[in-house]
Structure formats: C-alpha cells, structure tokens
C-alpha cells in the first residue's frame, strides 16, 4: 500500500528499431533528411491491394531486447489492427500488437546499493510508425495552418513499445529508467536510442495516490525530447497535480504536452474524444510462431548487459561505482575500456585516463569513441610506460595529445617530441642523483641522521630525481641508487 499523495509513474517507451528496412516492406528506414515521400512503396503507403510481410530482422531485435529484460517471449504472437482516421496513417489503421504481444514481464534494474530496485516491465510489443505531418503555419501548429503536408517516409518504420508497471516513484528514477533502457538498446545494437531525433519517445503516466492509498487519476504527459525534459516535466506535473488536489479539486484524466520553453505541461483544449480503436486480429498476417531454436539463436548473439559489465568493472577491477557507470554508459566506451585493460593497462589508471583525457577529447570533437584516433591498445601501451616509469605523467599527456592530433603510435609520438630515447640508468642516473643531493643537503643530512622514519624525505628526493630525468628513470632504480649514495656519503 502506498502512502497517500505519493507519486506513481509508469512509462511507455517507443523505441525505433535500427533495421535497414521497414516493418512490413523493403523500404529504407533512413528518413532523416530524405526528400519527402521517397522512401515509400505500395505497402507502406497502404495502396489498395498491397499486403504486409513481417521483416524477420525486427523480430530478432525485439527478441534480443526481451531476453535482455528477462521477459517471457510468446511462442505464439500476432498482430492486430488499431483503427482510426488520421492523414499520417495511410491505411487508417496501425498494425500493432494487442492481446498476444511479443513478450511480457521482465524488469530493468535502476539505482545503486540500497537504492537499487528493479522496475517491472508489463509488455513489449511491435508496431509500425506513422508518417509525419508538416503544418504550414509559422508556429507549426495545425490550428493556425492554411494547409498541412504529409511525408510518409517514416510510415512503417518499426517501433518497439516497452511499457513499465506503475512502479516508478520519482522523476529522477524515471530519468534513470529511461537512461538504462536507452543504454540497453544501444548495447544490443537494436536502436540508436536518440531522444532528440525521436528514435526513443517517452510517454509518462503520472498520478498521486488518494487518501486511502489507492491509485489516483492518471495524466499522460507527452513531448519530452530529452532526459532532462522528462525529469522537468514530471517534476512540474507532480506539483501541478498536488496543487489541484490541494485546492480540493480533482485531477482530470487527460493527455498533457510538455512545453519545454515555458517549462509547463499543457492540456489539450476542448473535450478529449474517447477513442474506440476497434482492435481485431490482422487477417493479412498469420499468427507468428517463432521457429524452434530462434530464441536460442538470438541468445547466442547477446552481448554482456551494461549492469553486469558495470558490476564487473566495480568488483573485479576496483573501479568506483561512478567510474564504472560512466565507462559502461555507451557500449563502445565499455569495449574500449576493456580492450585497454586487456592490453596491459592498470584498470584504475585506464579508468582515470579514459574518463578525463579520452572523454574530454571526444566531447571537444563531438566524436563517437568508434572514430577515436588512439586505439585502446596504444593507450594501454602509453599507460604501461607510465607504470614502468618510462615516461612521466606530464610527458605522457603531451604524447597523448600528439597521438590524438596526428594518429601516431606511442613510440613515434615520443620520438617526435624529441624526448631522449631509452632510459636514464646506471652511471648517468647516478650523476643526476648526485647533482640533486648536492642541492638538497638538508634533506640528505636528516635522512642520514635517521630523522625520516616514514620515508617522506626520501620520497621527496626521488620525486626531484624523476622530474629532473623527465620521467625517463625507473622509480625503483632511482630509490635503490639514492639509498646507496646516501648510505655511502
């Protein structure tokens, strides 16, 4: 039983699947920037007599997502027609799923440590996207338009709808749920999950519980084009509903649109029409029975889930939860980090460098990790040199910049800088140390007098030597030689 007035949020997320062709025909799904009504054919235009045929790749992508969510995949699933008139819907019905969705149940983990919880998934189903209306009015709204144009390039693009149970209790949690789901579809390679482009669309059902703890009237909030917009819209809507209830009024069941510029949700004016979609099984599409071994085949293609990877980075490598989260956010970044560590880099140093140096460069250049000039193995090479004392951290950063700028390997970059090749060692190192000791006589005397029980002075002297040698000395050799010289003074 929930406490009176507590927030209840359920999310319906439409994920556009990254297949090359549409859900029921061979037309390209690449509609962004395409000339209107060019990615179309009789099927996705709903021309009389045309018939849909299911794109098998769509089923594969949806099954992989269902597996990742731990959902039950229906062995027998079918498509329904959702009937309504609208100019962006060429057949005047949308082919969707109704009573037998592709998958039901499952969950998505959110939160950390004690706050960790699993949001239950209600269902996952497939449907076709509609076309796009372009209204002629300057404000782009239908009401003020003299005419409207319709582009069917997007019509028939596959959508996967994932519906959560109303188990989300804060806007921040909703945000994280969406972020986790977005991360998941990117890991699976089934969608780019880009909210701004509309490849991932979130509708939120929000309500506040009644005095007796029962669910209150829910309001559907739409038009959030980023995670931040989602969080803000929910925050606004919760306050609005609380105020309505506080005034002794009741919340109206309606759909409200998030106005990002003004930071408010707006109800649609006039009365809401009650839709009767007259769902019935699409007679053009026989029920879909997944072939024996199909699900197992997809299981074999599943990558490691981001939350598993995060835990591994945290537990096995000792990375902080924050580092592990950041480095597993994108599948490419996680793969990069793994390769770098497998290539011999110290995990902590690798995590630190990737978080700061690599991400900084990627952000500056607005570039995905897949296009990054420094390979994970080159980075591992550089980081190992720091560990071995071959290069100092300062020098390594200069080398790194050159590797980024010129695409050079570590050794080429070091050559280019003109740093001395090879190590500072043996008699040459001895000379450097003696030179430092001659300068730092005070520290030297104190060590000899046994006034350095914690080795602080010794460490200071070693640091001076390393700096002088521009990172080319081996710290272990420095410490050893330093000890010998002091002892023999």
């Amino acid at each position: 039983m929930r406490k009176p007035g507590s927030t209840v949020i359920g999310l319906e997320i439409h994920v556009q699947l990254a297949t090359a062709s549409k859900l029921f025909c061979a037309c390209s799904t690449d509609y962004i920037g395409a000339v209107p009504n060019t990615n179309v054919c009789p099927v996705c235009l709903g021309q009389p007599g045309s018939l849909p045929v299911v794109n098998a790749r769509v089923i594969e992508y949806a099954v992989r997502t269902a597996l990742a969510l731990g959902a039950r995949i229906g062995q027998f699933t079918r498509f329904h027609r959702k009937n309504y008139f609208y100019p962006d819907l060429p057949k005047a019905y949308q082919i969707s799923q109704y009573d037998l969705p592709l998958a039901e149940g499952g969950q998505l983990p959110v939160g950390e440590g004690d706050d960790r919880k699993a949001i239950a998934i209600t269902r996952l189903h497939l449907e076709e996207d509609a076309g796009k209306l372009v209204h002629s009015a300057a404000d782009g709204r239908l009401g003020h338009s003299e005419y409207s144009l319709v582009d069917y390039n997007r019509g028939g693009v596959p959508l996967m709808e994932i519906v959560s149970e109303p188990e989300i209790s804060t806007p921040a949690e909703a945000r994280e749920y969406v972020a986790r789901l977005r991360q998941l579809v990117r890991y699976l390679g089934v969608s780019d999950g880009d909210m701004e482009k509309g490849s991932l669309r979130v509708d939120a059902n929000v309500s506040l519980t009644n005095k007796d703890g029962s669910l209150g009237t829910k309001v559907e909030v739409k038009n959030m084009n980023s995670l931040r917009a989602l969080e803000r819209a929910l925050e606004y809507e919760i306050v609005r509903q609380a105020e309505v209830i506080g005034r002794g009024e009741s919340v109206r069941q309606e759909t409200r649109h998030w106005d990002d510029a003004n930071g408010v949700t707006c109800g649609t004016r006039g009365k809401e029409e009650a839709h009767d979609y007259r769902y019935f099984p699409d007679p053009d599409l026989p029920p879909l029975v997944l072939p024996v071994g199909f699900v197992e085949g997809q299981e074999a293609l599943m990558p490691e889930m981001p939350w598993v990877l995060k835990e591994r980075f945290n537990k096995d490598w000792g990375l902080s939860v924050e580092d592990a989260s950041i480095l597993t956010e994108w599948p490419g970044l996680a793969r990069y980090t793994e390769s770098c560590v497998k290539g011999g880099a110290n995990p902590l140093r690798a995590a630190n460098w990737i978080r700061t140096e690599v991400l900084r460069v990627l952000n500056e250049r607005k570039m995905p990790i897949e296009q990054f000039a420094v390979s994970p193995l080159d980075l591992a090479d550089l980081l190992s040199k720091i560990d071995r004392g071959d290069v100092s951290t300062t020098l390594a950063k200069t080398v790194f910049e050159l590797m980024v700028a010129e695409g050079l390997s570590v050794s080429c970059a070091i050559d280019r800088i003109g740093a001395p090749a090879g190590k500072l060692t043996g008699p040459e190192l001895r000379l450097v140390i003696e030179h430092i000791l001659a300068r730092e006589t005070e520290a030297c005397e104190e060590i000899r007098a046994g006034k350095d029980p914690k080795g602080k002075k010794r460490g200071f002297l070693c640091g001076q030597v390393m700096r002088e040698s521009r990172g080319q000395a081996d710290p272990a050799e420095v410490a050893k030689t330093l000890g010998e010289i002091i002892a023999n003074l």
Binding site: G46, Q47, P48, S50, L51, P90, A92, R278
Partner: protein
Amino acid sequence: MTSLDLSGAQIARAVRNGELSAAETVDASISRILQLEGKVKALLTPLFERAKSFADQLDRKIASGEEPGPLAGVPVVIKDNLCMKGIRTTCGSRILENWHPPYDASVVRFLEEAGAVVIGKANMDEFAMGSSTENSAFFPTRNPWDLERVPGGSSGGSAAAVACGYAPLSLGSDTGGSIRQPAAFCGIYGLKPTYGLVSRYGLVAFASSLDQVGPFARSVEDLALALNVLSKPDPADATSSRRCRPDYQKCLGREDLKGLRVGIVREFEAYPVQPEIGDALGHVEGILREAGATFLPVSLPTTIEAGLPCYYILAPAEASSNLARYDGVRWGMSVEAEHLVDLYKKTRGEGFGAEVKRRILTGTYVLSSGYYDAYYLVAQKARTQISREFAEAFRNVDMLLMPTTPTLPFRQGENSEDPLQMYLSDVFTLPVNLASLPGLSLNAGRSSGGLPVGVQFVGPRWGEETILSAAGAVERVLGKPAAAFGGEGA
C-alpha cells in the same frame, strides 16, 4: 477462328506451334466484344490497344524462338479489383474511379508472364459486395442468356465475358461466392481455390481472411491450366501457402471415378431450392455414380444454421477496416472540404454506394467496444466450428456435391431493394469461404426457360485435384458449356 471455337489450352497450343498468331486471337476477341458489349456490358475498361501491342510483342518473341509460356496468346479478362500498373482500377466504385495503381497484382503478373493477353477489366459489384453486379457504381452487367436478368456477382463482368466468348479465361475473386454464383448464373465454370493457394497481393481487399482469386472458363482443362499458372507461392502475401503445387492438368485424364466418395449434405437437402436446381443435382449425381463414385450423407448442422450470420459479421468487420483507407487524402476521389473530418465525410459519403456503406456500418458496429464479444468473437468461434464440421465430413468423403445457389438467375432489380434476400443467394457458397475450402461451380445444363443451372463441388483444403477431375468426368458426359449468343453474327 475465334475464342468461341477454341479453348484457352487449344489457343495456347496453336500459338506456340505458330498455327495462330497472338495478334489474330486478340483481334478475334476484340471483334466478339464489339459485337456483344453493347448488350451485355461486361467490361469497365477495354484494353484493346494494350492487348494488341502485347500480342505483337509476344508474336515477335515466338518468331525469335523464345518460350512464350503456357498461356501464349490466350485473351483474358481481369476483374476490376485486381491491380494493373498504370491501368485504371475502379473496384466498381466512384471512390476509385480514376485510380491508376503503381503496381501489378501478382496474379496479373503470373498470367502475363505465362503469355496471356489482358483484353479488358471486368465490371463488378462495388468492392465485390453484391450478388448481381447491380452494385457497380457505373452500370449493371446483364446475363448473356437473358438480358433482363442478372449475371450474378460480384464477379458478374468476368463471368459474362467468358460466357459470351470474349475470352476463354477470366479472373474473378470470391469472398462468399463471388466466382461460383456468377459462374452458375452465366452457365460456365468458376473455381474458388483453397484459401492461400493463390496470391492476394494486388487484389483490392474486401474481407482479407475470405478473399481468394480464381478463374472462370468454359472447359475444365482451361480451369486446370489457369490454376497451374495462378497458384504460385508468393512471398509478397503472408497468407500464401508455401506447399508444393501439383500439376492440375495431370489429374484430368482419369476415365472413371472408382473409389471417389461424394458427400451429400443432409441439411442442404432440406433447404428450399428451385426445382430445376434439385433436378440438376440429381442429374450430376447420376453421372458421377455412373463413373464409379459412391454417395454418402454428411451433416453440417452449424454450417447451415450459423454460416450466413457468421459471414455477415466477419466479412463486414474486415471490410470496415480495409475500406477505411479511402479517405480522400492520398489517392482516389477527394471531395473539397473545409476541415479534415468534412473531407472524410464528404469523400466517403459521395464515393461509396449504399451496399458498401451498409457493410462498413455493420462492420464498424460489430467491432465496437461492447459489441465485439457479442458479435465478432462469437462469429469467429462459429467459423472455427464450421471449419471443424467440414473437416469432420471430409474424414468420410472426398468431396461434396451441393447447390451453388438456391435460385436460377433473378431479374434485374428483383432483389436490389431487399438486402437479406440478396444475401441468401450466397447461402451455399459462403460456408466454403468460412472453412477456407476449394469450391467449383459447373454448368449442368439449362432450365426449360433457357437459363443456366449450376451445381457446386466442394473439396477438402488443397483438394482442387479431386473436384477438377470430378468436373472433368461430368464434362465428358455433358460436353463443354456453350457460349451465349452462339456464333450468331460471328
């Protein structure tokens, strides 16, 4: 030499052998059409010029030694709900009066690839809804045997065209009897294949789970030949079966029908039919017995009780959704309007005829929330039960002999004010669609008034060979059906 004298198979043979050119067969076909079309009005769009140039191409192909296909030079008429690229396809409706599809129906492609020459597009009841072709938005087609009477429907134009000898073959579509009933009324053969045997891609949908394309002909061999060409599996139609198809012409050679078990449906025997039809059933039964078949009674109690209401729930339900796309936004008729909803109302209000509107309303009603369970769902269950009953019957028999229609061709206007009476015209044919079975209507002679009398053979699923070979046995006794108007004026 005209199509009147030769079957499609004979024409194809002659054209392939170089005894006849495709151009000649097309010319003969055109002159027959010009001679009779004023009376019969079977065609909505003649395609004479296109047919001539197609025939010329075919003749050049043959001259250069290329394989012209099994239907080389055979003129065919296509029902106007089958798409042909760039050719006006109206479905007998104002709403599609000027619609030119951007693609070919798969069956049209199959026919043309086989060398058939499309000579025209046939009149039909609007969106295949009707049993008389009086629901065409353009003009009614007349029965070639009695111009005062209807040719049946909805494929009345296709049936009349073959009955008149415009072409030896035509295509129709059958959702509840729309091939078999006009075949019976026009005195020719009509075959509704098993659901899934023939592609529906490019057939403008009426009721998708019931629609099936099939041929009309004046010989059983032509039916089989057409079926061989039409019945290819089609990846563009998800309901097209992938099973291997036999050679349907091979099943025709059987001299006797020894071992064939024919079922007579008890409940249909009790149903009132016109006496001529009862006589024809007896006559055909005698022929089949003579050929060695045995007869057994079978029972289809749900079918006779629930078939008609079940059909008139499911077919309109699917139609209401299939016809929603005619909204004036993309193609077809679009009536000027101030607002979107007005555009829908005016376009659909002016574009659709009364029968189509009646079925859209019925279909919308039975799918509406609160009524779905009471109508659509109950009808689906009844459909399953009807399929089971047929399957049960086919455990004991190989085919059924039953009437195609309860009456002989009725007069123009006789049933047009009474939709229920019109619906009863399909009482023996629509259960076959509900059970997805193959049905063949054949001519069993003429009434004393000269009207054709048809009977129906129904096979189990994929049982086309059985009913074709039985029809072949009857044809050997009765002869091939004659063309209407004989050679008069030819």
